[in-house]
Symmetry: D2
Subunit: 143 residues, 4 copies
């Protein structure tokens, strides 16, 4: 079961990733091996054509997975992404994007998550990502 | 053979992606189906542990591919990423990162590129990405 | 809604891919943008350690997506895989493997599907794949 | 430097993967973190349209990486694929396919390789794969 709340995760991010402040997100729900996060719309995320940029969605997918892992194992700042695969499916309108991350595997050393991203109010995903994290062996001492 | 120079690509980016200004990059070399680009080190790209963040490397890989495609087909702002797969191989030191993109395929509708990224002065890659772009059918009218 | 039944798909495969006969599969369910297929256990699918081999799971993922696409657009033999990304999550026991494919996107030219694979009787997936298919422009004439 | 020869690898495969016999391959060259392997053409690898099937190329990519890893660390049968990402670039003619695997990373626990595949006699790749292997902790005792 989750060991961190949304506000604990946000406080942790603010302390360890102060530069993420400009990204503009809000964690909305945490369940067992599941996390939902919202990217708040800002014009800085746009690309030509008026859609949300690929890098914004990739950052969101990575962040969703990072928080999903931390919600389950605690505040391990040094958990690192080992791979990320993303498919861009539809043009994301210039609105908030909601990412839902499900942990497919949460092992001692490796976690794998599936992240689906939706434009606010839409039911068809704008992108799907599979993200792999490596968990440092000394994780539990860091809590 | 390439149809755009490094300074033409940078001017195009500045006109169409003004928000990329803060990312801090420089196109260093363009050859047939090959492009090298440098991410200039800035503390905003760091993550806990003092290494360059995953999102910074993903943005760099995407940008390397975008410019590699545009260097060959001309200024098609609406070429879009359809998928990106990245493997993080080593911790990137807090220095510039150089990305080299080779186009494995440059079709009418689809381009696929291999991007290898290196910390300045190192010979072993810090990350490898495979990026797929979709080229809009009306590309030639847009030049 | 689906336009082909399980037995129509199996007959189509037998006619166009006679060499798949040795693979040993059975289509179990077809719904709107969803297909479930079973890989029948055979010792030829084993690898050292007594688990189902990676190539068997990759072939299953590719086949699940192929049939999911065909179930929706009809018997287009020339639909081809453009990319496949698979994560192996757990050691698959020497039993049947069930693959469930959900189409995340079914466009005119491109389809993207998410495939989750389970060992018979288990609830945690042994592998997850994301598969992209290209649909030939003359698809409708081929039916 | 490599610790196994092509014929040692082929003998190892025959002992541990007798079912691979029907696949029909030949290891052609081994260098430091590099291996070239040939898939011998056989009609069983064809798919509709008369091209080499996707599963045949995926199996080849996986095998190239497996042998590249073993050539460097010795006969560790239980090294397992953790992920594979493949892009199909061109239609592979009904001839031999040559795969070249370069190890981008060879760590204690994880190896990552880039595999490019070519139809015999061609210079443009038919497919590119990135493959990740997990190396069991007790690898050295198994030699």
């Amino acid at each position: 079961m989750p060991v961190m709340t949304a506000s604990e995760l946000e406080a942790f991010a603010q302390a360890h990733f102060p530069q993420m402040d400009g990204f503009g997100f809000r964690i909305e729900e945490i369940e067992d091996k599941f996390l939902r996060i919202r990217l708040l719309y800002h014009s800085r995320h746009l690309r030509p054509g008026g859609t949300i940029s690929g890098p914004a969605l990739m950052t969101l997918a990575d962040l969703a997975m990072y928080f999903a892992v931390l919600s389950m194992i605690g505040p391990v700042a040094l958990a690192v992404t080992t791979s990320l695969n993303i498919n861009f499916l539809r043009k994301p309108s210039p609105v908030d994007v909601i990412a839902e991350c499900r942990l497919l595997k949460l092992g001692q050393r490796l976690a794998v998550g599936d992240v689906q991203m939706f434009s606010e109010g839409e039911t068809e995903p704008v992108a799907q990502a599979t993200v792999t994290y490596s968990i440092p062996p000394n994780q539990y001492r860091e809590r």
